[in-house]
Amino acid sequence: MRDLNAPANPLEVLAYIIAQQISDHSVVYIGTGIPMVAGILAKKTHAPNITIVYESGGQDPIEGDMPWSVGCPFTWRKSPTTMEMSYSFAQCYNGYVDMGFLGFAQVDMYGNVNTHMIGKDFHKPAVRMTGSGGNNDLSSLTENMVLVGLQTPDKFLEKVDFVTSVGHLTGGNSRKEAGLIGKGPSAVISPWGVYDFHPVSKRMRVKTLTPGVTFDLAQQLTGFELLKPEGEIPDTKLITPEALKIVRTEVDPRGVFTVMPTG
């Protein structure tokens, strides 16, 4: 049982912010981790009629416990159908998926994502990470992508070490010219801020900031020059007590994804 009185931790804050991006009645493609919490939270709050799709082929499950993998039984629990993997991604290409959520290890100023490796030498990286999985497929095909991850200057970089998934590539019209489908990433969400992309240059821009975070602080946490929107920067809407209670009692009661690691 989780402590219902503790203040919201950054993961819970993040889950709520992500959930706010989801409109009711949409089809949403979800990657592993915090996006799962967000999707289920949205479904239990403002967007009860969304349909969630997972890459192993599960889709439209009846919610059970928190999924531990995009292939686990909770992603296809009493689903009307399961898809073969090739067909699952094809739903993004064919225009049936409204929005996708993915994590990253590094993101650059144009929303390109790296989940492959840290370092410059492919053969001897500082750290080899997972590789693409379905990350590239969703980023290549989905109409609206939302990227989710932690924000430090070595995670928000001018140039990622390996382009696993194309966001807005080199800005401007370059994503479309490279042949990719969809609008590309519409938002990047970190515990400190929500970022969007300038409509013409496609460079990352501050949209809202977590209360207490200034533009200067956000800039210090970023390895490239952030664009500043015109006018006051609004605060990001923080998780409400009601939503926090739902996260802790219904969405992730065992704290699979929303309890901070204790080292």
């Binding site: 073969e84 991604f89 693409s132 590239n136 497929d137 696993t164 042949g179």
Partner: protein, 363 residues
């Protein structure tokens, strides 16, 4: 000399001196010839796991993963491949991380890779070390969807498909099989990626039931396996249960692999242990935490762990005994039924394995 005109930038980036090692994965002619040469008669193909592996998995084969990571993956058959000491395999690590186990025993020397790791259980530090030490060589980088399209192209009976995935990314710069081309019908510039049909040498697919001829039924996500079964040159079916053909005919509509694809049929209850078998048993969460976290620390740790579980067991029954035997079976069955909504909801709490806390329990 290689038979194909590979993506030269990728060949250079991957530092491949002899590209002929790449050929068989896309060699349709030899795959078709292998399919034609199979005995297509409807005969009893049952044999032991040891015999199936020793007959149909050969040194140097391209073997693909099956299932999804730890869902309906043929872990116990993979363990037998390792115990038999096969050499120089090329592993297609999609959509899984299981190639790591082969690499640690020097069974797999090459990797076609789209994902290594266990999602929230952690990144695969063992693969990272093997890569840097040169114990495994990456032959191609993929996305999950790219590999899925390659297998699907083979099942569709086509030389390949044009994809919109992987465009513009570094994946195409590290995959010799992919070529970016202009859409042939479009007037305007419209890049597409040609993904060739993929033909592994051997696949092992773990199914729920099979008859003795090899008609095999899958419940839950098929992932790539229906396509893989059609593509692969050699196919070993392992099944939780062997049933009469009439059971397949009358009771098992849905995801079926036809018998004439199969070379061997192995009755292998608990064949997906320590992973999850839909409808049958839940995965052992602690086992996966331990392999990622304890094995992640060092090569020595990983070998201690794998020696205990792979070399230290002769078969899946000994493996299940180590997990907790009948108690594990009962718990894993209860958990998977609850997970699938076929039982009362239960509390999925458990004691997580960490480096500081090993309860010794696997359920």
């Amino acid at each position: 000399m290689a038979k194909y005109l590979y993506n030269e930038e990728a060949v250079a980036n991957l530092r491949l001196s002899d590209t002929s090692v790449l050929d068989r994965l896309v060699d349709f002619e030899s795959a078709r010839a292998a399919h034609l040469k199979k005995d297509h008669s409807k005969k009893d193909k049952r044999m032991s796991l040891a015999e199936a592996v020793s007959t149909f998995v050969q040194d140097g084969d391209i073997m693909t993963d099956a299932g999804f990571s730890y869902v309906r993956t043929p872990h116990q058959a993979f363990n037998e491949v390792i115990r038999q000491g096969k050499k120089n395999l090329q592993m297609i690590g999609a959509p899984n991380t299981n190639q790591t186990f082969f690499i640690n025993y020097g069974v797999a020397a090459y990797s076609h890779n789209s994902y290594t790791g266990a999602e929230m259980r952690g990144i695969d530090k063992s693969y990272d070390r093997a890569l840097k030490a040169g114990r495994v060589k990456i032959l191609s980088e993929w996305s999950h969807g790219g590999v899925a399209q390659g297998f699907k192209a083979a099942q569709l009976g086509t030389p390949g498909v044009f994809s919109k995935q992987m465009l513009g990314s570094d994946i195409v710069r590290y995959n010799p099989y992919l070529k970016v081309m202009q859409h042939p019908l479009k007037k305007d510039k419209d890049p597409v990626v040609f993904v060739p049909a993929l033909y592994p040498d051997v696949a092992i697919i773990h199914c729920h039931v099979a008859d003795k001829y090899g008609n095999a039924y899958i419940y839950g996500p098929a992932v790539n396996d229906l396509a893989v079964a059609a593509a692969t040159r050699k196919l070993i079916i392992t099944a939780e249960e062997i049933v009469p053909e009439s059971d397949i005919r009358y009771n098992r509509q849905g995801q079926i692999i036809p018998f004439f694809y199969a070379d061997a049929v192995v009755e292998l209850p608990f064949g997906a242990v320590p992973g999850n078998m839909p409808g049958c048993y839940y995965w052992s969460r602690q086992w996966w935490e331990k392999v990622m976290r304890f094995g992640g620390v060092s090569d020595e740790n990983m070998m201690i762990f794998l020696n205990e579980w792979i070399m230290g067991t002769k078969n899946q029954f000994e493996f299940v005994d180590k997990l907790g035997g009948a108690k594990w079976i009962a718990e894993a069955r209860r958990q998977t039924k609850a997970a699938e909504g076929d039982n009362e909801d239960i509390d999925f709490s458990y004691e997580e394995y960490t480096l500081k806390n090993d309860s010794g329990l696997y359920y």
